[in-house]
Symmetry: C2
Subunit: 415 residues, 2 copies
């Protein structure tokens, strides 16, 4: 806890400086950090090797090992990411409104940094640089608490970034890494209200749930996506098949992938056999209701819990519904309010779906895979918010800002 | 807890209906509720009498008793408040942006209700109707958990509102009152993530602190205001005196009242004697630093804790500072980031104060008492946010909304 308090004090102090930096100063730091990531790549890769060796000794494998691994190409990607953020517009200082009141007061609302952002994440060293870039560009100080598996990699990356800050005469405390990677430090971050303005968990469902349930610091909840595709009676079936296949198989391990398919009863026998055949070829396991099992010989019977499951895998649950009402009711009951799409040629049904389905992103005739800050044109993404407060859907730079009222008077008092 | 879950289920169901109501339907409910509050005033006042009798028996006195009391005039005020909200513009459905992406997707961001709002408040029966009006107008369902002292008054007001809802064929579950007023029900609300999209505590600092520290439901923090007035070297001293007197004495018990005055050393001997004389006449107790005590014979010496105290009373702490830097540093250290004002004729100092002071509302040459939804022209107020996430400063109707992306495609898949 002492480490967190010390870092909190430093971050708060740095935040007051960062809020006043010019866009040019911030961009210079990002450009310099990008340059140093490449120049010091040997040092970073050596640190990463330590982490990989420990992971190997602990029998870590597969996707986890892949996420932890850095190489020249990935460091180039990280450097490019830093430069990309430098090229984005600076949201700080934007005047959102300015009104003159009857008493002569002129009240303006301007965009300001949040202050100090805490980020708790798992064993992905690239998040260290990504998160820093977005926080710096928005004038925020950041305290990072990454997974213990990546501690050496994270320390090496943070060292390089701090060198870049120093070279531009910007407080090095703009980025601080929590070196205590025990459970205690994560819990401590969640109670650090005095120093943190917001806490963002980045990682799996378990991490996010723990943070949401235990943090007294305001949280930006990201992540869980039990996304549906609904194929309506009037759908262009060729389009429907292409969207469903894309939404399920393009990248099954991410939150905007389809987990459940709903099909109108009147087109189920036409679309399901060819669609499921294609999905099977792509190694997707099908779990369906009774009608699906009748139509698709290789489909397994779905259980109640399938409808609520985010597989993040090549598995798909399919249900035949009698109409749009049943589709919307099903999504309302089981969905996670992330991304939902309808495939339809019926105007009224498209409008009802768009307005009655309560989710961060609701689509007509497109794959749910587009819910992403880059695809939405934000140029960056800190995560996809599934809460309704502050930000909903893909979060870019603007979502890392707050506002402030500035009021110009000439002696007004209240009567 | 069972009561909360049942009410949560009903509220969630009502919210899906409320989100689709037309502005006219919502306004009709508000008009009808205003009418019924007057028509049924005898019933409400009888219920209020029960609460007042209990409070009297429990030796409740002063401001608390006053807040709890209803009478014909106050009920007329409540009815007027309902009508006023009906007359405001409906924010739901507003299109915040609509962009066409290179792949042809049209991505729009529209304003939608938050969903279900929980409000925990103390013994102020007027909040029951106020909060309902703002929530209904923004298409949100509301679960109210008021103080036990006002339970009979609250039940009577909620009955009338539910009758108004029913008369307009809108789900009565748009408003629900938690009848269990034990500590358990407040704690239960703080953990009701499955049903509540946001929790708003309205009341004293103790209540707000408890909710912020214990709620896993996202909280809109309102309230605490340790507000400063800084009189700069170049200030128009007549204006400075008028602003300081207004900020301190116009309504000392509210969050935007001044609690601490900072005065530039070069004008301290000119402004402090006459200003403190006027404040003394208005029964303000002065607590000052050494220089203040020298200049003002009746000033008491301030202790360290005075600088951090929100008195909410006719008490003022005063400190003489050597320059703008010291003033800003003092505000950064002791302020609560609510409302801060500088009185100055110096352009550069006004700009530095506006941009370097980190608060929800920062003023030049005006009283901090203007930080208020009505004074800002919002036509309504649910509270003044002192957090940086979601909303900052006075919160009107827009702050009770979220957003949603709606995306029009023609078969786009991600490659």
């Amino acid at each position: 806890m002492e480490e967190l308090i010390q870092k909190g004090i430093k971050a708060k102090k740095a935040a007051t400086i960062l809020a006043q930096l010019s866009t040019e100063q911030k961009n210079n730091v990002l450009e310099q950090a990008a340059k140093l990531i490449i120049e010091k790549s040997e040092t970073i890769l050596q640190a990463n090797k330590k982490d990989l060796d420990t992971a190997h000794a602990n029998n870590v494998k597969g996707a986890l090992m892949d996420r932890l691994s850095l190489n020249k190409q990935r460091l180039e990607g990280i450097a490019e990411g830093l430069q990309q953020v430098a090229s984005l517009e600076d949201p700080i200082g934007e005047v959102l409104s300015m009104n003159k009141r009857p008493n002569g007061l002129r009240i303006g609302q301007i965009r300001v940094p949040l202050g100090v952002i805490g980020i708790i994440y798992e064993a992905r060293p690239n998040v260290t640089a990504d998160a820093f870039a977005l926080c710096l560009k928005t004038g925020n100080a950041v305290i990072l608490r990454g997974g213990k598996e990546a501690i050496n990699s994270n320390m090496a990356i943070v060292d390089v970034i701090r060198e870049a800050l120093q070279s531009q005469n910007v407080s090095m405390d703009a980025i601080q890494l929590v070196e205590d990677t025990s459970r205690d430090s994560a819990v401590g971050m969640m109670k650090l209200n005095q120093y943190l303005d917001v806490l963002i968990p980045r990682g799996g469902a378990g991490l996010i749930k723990t943070v949401v349930e235990n943090s007294s610091v305001p949280v930006l909840e990201t992540g869980v996506g039990n996304c549906h595709t609904y194929i309506d009676e009037s759908a262009d079936l060729k389009m429907a098949q292409s969207i469903a296949v894309n939404a399920k198989t393009h990248r099954p391990g991410v939150c905007n992938a389809m987990e459940s398919l709903l099909v109108h009863a009147s087109v189920a026998d036409k679309i399901l056999p060819p669609l499921c055949k294609e999905l099977k070829k792509l190694n997707v396991e099908i779990r369906g209701d009774e009608k699906v099992v009748q139509l698709v010989p290789f489909a397994l019977p779905a259980k109640e819990e399938d409808w609520a499951t985010e597989y993040l895998d090549l598995i798909l649950s399919i249900k035949v519904v009698s109409d749009l009402d049943e589709a919307i009711a099903h999504i309302t009951k089981y969905g996670s309010s992330h991304s939902e799409t309808i495939v339809t040629e019926n105007y009224s049904n498209s409008q009802r779906f768009l307005h009655e389905v309560d989710a961060a992103a609701v689509y007509v005739n497109a794959s749910t895979r587009f819910t992403d800050g880059f695809m939405f044109g934000f140029g960056a993404e800190i995560g996809i918010s599934t809460q309704k407060l502050h930000a909903r859907g893909p979060m870019g730079l603007k979502e890392l800002t707050s506002t402030k009222y500035i009021i110009y008077g000439d002696g007004q008092v209240r009567s």
